[in-house]
């Protein structure tokens, strides 16, 4: 059952290539594209997290946009109300979203498959209204504006950032920050997946009854997965807040949850390698669609059509195609009722 693991040498080579690409990419791309890539990075982090949940424990969540909101608003609230430096809020945002993820994971234990999807869907739809309601903390419909109201931004009005003696444009900084965290997060997820945690997750995904019968604590495993994916989503939301310098209820609509899930599935469930492709897909495709046609409704049409075509051509996502998997990636999700 073990996949053929290429030698350590190959992995080190891949890691080296990725690292080099990360460090030197901004030399070759425009400032604008650095910003775009930073946006893709946000998706990437959320996708890695959701993949841990859906790809490895088989729980479908249509509500991860809401967890991103938790992270984003944590960062914004700390920056604006408590005057924290924005980048220091990132870990706390992750933890906050992780806790919320854990809290969602608890009742989610009772639900499976499409019921869970519906519940998280309802949660995601409810979030904007809830955010508007607690306006004292969240700034209501206006939201919180880091650009104007957060005094200690690493980014901000100056347009340049100085780190360790290097001065770089804001967009380059955002790119390095986001993908730096992204690659570290990727590495952590990869290590988890290869280790006992990953095996436990996969056991739960493939057969809960079998997993329980070998002593795996189902409740603990599933809520852990939810919490972990929440941490990733929270960090992603935090970085989004830092990038866009404003958060409001419209930043975290149901659409965001859909985009993350689309990114996971297009990237290939259970395939860490496809995640980057998934992130790039959901970052660039909406933009590209507007380039094809700006007529009202046309970009959405093209975006939706692209999603459908990709799913028709690559039902197991890019990752599945890349690895030429013959075996089903997630048996439980494959079982029809």
């Amino acid at each position: 059952m073990r996949s053929r693991a290429p030698g350590i040498a190959v992995w080190l080579l891949v890691a080296a290539v990725v690292l080099l690409a990360y460090l030197f990419a901004p030399r070759f791309i425009s400032d604008f594209h650095s910003r775009e890539l930073a946006g893709a990075g946000v998706f990437f982090i959320a996708i890695v997290g959701l993949n841990l949940l859906t790809g490895y424990t088989g729980q479908i969540s249509l509500g991860h946009g809401a967890l991103m909101a938790v992270g984003g608003y944590t960062t914004a609230a700390l920056a604006v109300h408590e005057h924290w430096r924005d980048v220091w809020t990132i870990p706390l945002a992750g933890v906050a979203a992780g806790i919320v993820g854990f809290l969602i994971g608890l009742p989610a234990l009772r639900l499976s498959g499409l019921y869970l999807a519906l519940a998280t869907f309802a949660f995601a739809i409810a979030i904007p209204s809830l955010l508007k309601k607690f306006s004292g903390l969240t700034g209501g419909s206006q939201g919180l504006r880091l650009l104007e109201d957060a005094p200690l931004q690493v980014t901000g009005l100056s347009g340049t950032v100085t780190i360790f003696g290097h001065t770089m444009t804001q967009n380059h900084f955002l790119y390095y920050l986001t993908w730096g965290i992204g690659l570290v997060g990727f590495l952590i997820a990869w290590l988890l997946v290869r280790g006992r945690v990953g095996r436990t997750f996969r056991a739960v995904r493939d057969s809960e009854v079998a997993a329980a019968s070998v002593g795996i604590n189902l409740a603990w495993t599933k809520t852990l997965a939810f919490a972990l994916s929440g941490v990733y989503a929270g960090v992603a939301g935090s970085l989004l807040a830092i990038q866009v310098e404003i958060v409001n209820p419209l930043s975290f609509t149901f659409l965001l949850s859909i985009l993350i899930l689309v990114g996971v599935v297009v990237g290939g469930l259970g395939s860490l390698g496809g995640m980057i492709l998934g992130a790039l897909f959901v970052q660039y495709l909406p933009d590209l669609s507007t380039h094809v046609s700006t007529a009202e409704g046309a970009p959405d049409f093209i975006f939706g059509a692209a999603i459908i075509i990709v799913m028709l051509l690559l039902p197991t996502g890019a990752g599945g195609f890349l690895r030429r998997l013959a075996r089903p990636l997630t048996t439980r999700l494959y079982l029809r009722p």
Partner: protein
């Protein structure tokens, strides 16, 4: 001081609630139909219904009477539903459930975008199907429109039920949903039964849309998004795999939400949607199978 309970108002609010619930019920039945036959939730069901409504609007705009447009739109929507199943769902029949979910999400954008592309996003209106005069029953005034909506919704659902219960094709369709392999062995073309299911669901969605639009002063392409949520809530309440449950759940939800909105002051119209969502979450946590659904058994 004795507070006289206003039974008249209660009766009126119940009828209003039933009218909303009736509209949600038709869409909820569509959702359940697809869920039972294909095993997925069609997140694009509302948008397909919206598209049908726009087709109806175009027909009315070209001189058709409301009811002529109604019948024609139902027929066109049926064909459309079959076409969608063949084009987009059939190829991923054997793919993972999650893939099909993403396809329906993609379909959401495709249909919504297409509707905004073909018909510009300005608001428009459909004439009311029924007269706007009130009618008095047992001394209480009701709107003919509400009563008519309830009647049409229930009639549509009843026709669908009769189809499944009494016709050969309906029987084959039910069999194909329950046990496709055994159905093939008696000659049922199972893949076409799926297409039939999608066609019928689209037709029901069209009914839902065409009952929703006239009740509003004007509508645009976002017409059916709230209705989809209420339909989900109704279907979950009644049991996502039970058509009867979908109808009862939606009607119940309609009455419930309307009564809460009327009698509980701080709820008002703004929080109707969150109440519905709370219902979804509450039911899923307490009894996921809903009122009439069958609890999901996990095969060991």
């Amino acid at each position: 001081m004795i507070l006289a309970f206003d039974w008249t108002q209660l009766a009126q609010q119940i009828v209003i609630g039933l009218a909303s619930g009736g509209v949600w019920a038709t869409l909820a039945v569509a959702l359940v139909l697809i869920y039972r036959s294909t095993g997925v939730i069609n997140f694009a069901q509302g948008e397909m219904a919206m598209f049908s409504t726009f087709i109806a609007w175009s027909l009315v705009n070209h001189g058709f009477s409301y009811w002529a447009a109604f019948v024609l739109t139902v027929a066109i929507s049926f064909a459309g539903g079959v076409a969608v199943e063949r084009a987009v769902i059939r190829p991923v029949e054997r793919a993972p459930v999650l893939t099909v979910v993403i396809v329906t999400l993609g379909l959401f954008f495709v249909v919504n975008g297409a509707a905004r592309w073909i018909w510009s996003p300005e608001t428009r209106s459909l004439p009311n199907a029924f007269s706007t005069r009130p009618i008095t029953v047992a001394g209480v005034a009701f709107s003919i429109s509400d009563l008519g909506t309830i009647a049409v919704s229930l009639a549509a659902v009843a026709l669908l039920w009769a189809f499944f219960r009494f016709t050969k094709l309906g029987l084959a369709s039910r069999a194909a949903a329950v046990n496709p392999d055994a159905s093939r062995l008696v000659g049922v073309r199972v893949t076409w039964m799926l297409a039939l299911g999608w066609g019928l669901a689209a037709a029901m969605g069209a009914v839902s849309g065409m009952l929703t639009a006239p009740a509003l002063a004007s509508f645009d392409q976002n017409l059916m998004q709230p209705v989809l949520l209420y339909a989900f809530a109704g279907a979950v309440l009644g049991g996502i795999d039970s058509p009867l449950g979908a109808v009862v759940g939606s009607l119940l939800l309609g009455v419930l939400i309307n009564l809460i909105g009327t009698y509980v002051n701080w709820v008002g119209t703004d929080l109707r949607l969150p109440v519905a969502l709370a219902v979804i979450l509450g039911v899923l946590l307490v009894r996921p199978a809903g009122l009439f659904g069958r609890p999901m058994e996990t095969r060991v």
